[in-house]
């Protein structure tokens, strides 16, 4: 490990990544808003590092293996992995395994795509269900062939 790695590592471990205890004194609403605050903390912390911001950008247009990412920065693979973990924690990227490779994918984009696809799927099904009703009206009362 280089000194660069260590610095990166220290910054990682020094972060407030742990959730506050969900005390019995809090009602449901308070716990929920604390969890929300927690997520925001993780998000901002994850985005506070230039390398991590770049990893998100790189993995948005296509999946990147951890080793691919490692080649982009002057830091060790272990440091890249730590960065990726922070990003996974913040929900900014997701990790998948393909064979021996660890693939990183930008989640923001995935969610956006999922949104779009679901909207288009809704259109498909609305039209399909209109036909469903037409056939139903027509077939009702008739015997099965």
């Amino acid at each position: 490990m280089t000194s660069c790695d260590n610095r990166s590592g220290d910054r990682l471990t020094g972060a407030p990544l742990t959730s506050p205890a969900k005390g019995v004194f809090y009602n449901h609403m308070v716990v929920e808003s604390l969890e929300h605050e927690d997520r925001i903390d993780r998000l901002f912390f994850a985005l506070s590092d230039r390398t991590r911001r770049d990893i998100v950008t790189q993995s948005l247009d296509r999946e990147r293996s951890v080793s691919d990412l490692g080649r982009l920065y002057p830091i060790s693979l272990t440091a890249v992995q730590k960065h990726v973990e922070v990003l996974v924690d913040a929900g900014l990227v997701s990790k998948h395994r393909r064979g021996r490779e660890q693939l990183v994918r930008g989640e923001v984009d995935q969610l956006h795509r999922a949104h779009e696809l679901l909207d288009r799927l809704e259109t498909v099904w609305r039209a399909r269900l209109e036909r469903f009703e037409d056939v139903l009206d027509d077939a009702m009362g008739k015997e099965c062939r």
């Binding site: 679901l118 469903f132 009206d137």
Partner: protein, 165 residues
């Protein structure tokens, strides 16, 4: 309007559609159970679906293809029947089809759950579609692009017919 409710969850890649029909549970079920009826509504206008196999038993296979007016575009689909409880519940999974047309490694891409029940004097159908991956969703929506196109065309046809008559 048939559709009464739509819930979409991009995080779990799930869509739940609730539709209500003025018909009996048995009639609504028949539109899934009778392949000749199923193919009358599954494919968009201009892309009729043909159901080749329709084995509505747990573990059974339902396969269909949709072909375009030019006979070039063709979509194939294969469902594996996971659960059947006639006439109220049907669960199917969309099998992965490899390029050579045979089912792939058995990973499911889409899971479709159909629940039919009496609500008041009408029949409610709840359709839950879950996608394992965005690719599966992309594939399901690919037919939607066709759908948008062809329903547009049929609207134009209808307009033309109106104007020229």
């Amino acid at each position: 309007m048939t559709v009464t409710k739509i819930d979409k969850n991009p995080e779990t890649r799930t869509m739940v559609i609730t539709a209500v029909f003025t018909a009996s549970v048995a009639d609504v079920w028949r539109l899934w159970a009778d392949p000749r009826l199923l193919e009358r509504w599954w494919g968009p206008p201009g892309f009729p679906a043909t159901f080749e196999h329709h084995d509505l038993t747990a573990g059974g296979t339902i396969s269909y293809f949709m072909s375009g007016p030019d006979g070039v575009d063709r979509f194939d689909g294969t469902w594996t029947v996971v659960e059947v409880d006639a006439p109220t519940r049907l669960v199917v999974e969309d099998a992965v089809i490899d390029d050579d047309g045979t089912p792939g490694d058995g990973n499911s891409m889409t899971r479709m759950e159909i629940d039919i029940e009496v609500v008041g004097d009408r029949t409610q159908m709840v359709l839950t579609t879950h996608f394992d991956s965005l690719d599966g969703m992309e594939r399901a929506v690919a037919m939607g692009v066709v759908e948008g196109m062809t329903s547009c065309m049929s609207q134009i046809d209808a307009l033309l017919a109106e104007v020229t008559s």
